[in-house]
Symmetry: C2
Subunit: 81 residues, 2 copies
């Protein structure tokens, strides 16, 4: 199965990268833009074909490696590969 | 409106970051993992409330700043803020 994982900073955590993007968008003339936040997007293929077990494996990957759960949230969608 | 933008490397473009994540997952015991690709995720709030015009504005942002369209694809979802 294929997982599409999105990792975002928790609300309230400073996001200098997002601020830099926001500043650059303003400089390019996109004046109405605000609240820019940058996160990560990771695609993973797992050999597991049972959705429940694939889900459990992805959860463990996120907690152990992909996301820093102190400051980041993660979310994912599974689809048959 | 709020846009959730996903920027991914085009197929065939080398992704050393994805490879590093894949290696780390293998080292942690996630043996069945392959095809790891890392991309970017950006959340943006635009003042525009008309979906068609918001969409057009997001397209321009992606092409001008957010994505390098030579090597990256972008996709987005819009939602009412």
């Amino acid at each position: 199965m294929k997982a599409r994982i999105t990792i975002t900073l928790k609300p309230g955590v400073l996001d200098p990268q997002g601020k830099a993007i926001e500043g650059a968008l303003h400089a390019l003339g996109f004046g109405g833009v605000e609240g820019v936040r940058q996160g990560k997007f990771i695609e993973v293929e797992v050999a597991e074909s049972d959705p429940a077990r694939a889900r459990e494996e992805i959860e463990r990957m996120c907690k152990q490696l992909l996301a820093n759960t102190i400051i980041e949230n993660y979310a994912y969608e599974l689809e048959a590969a």
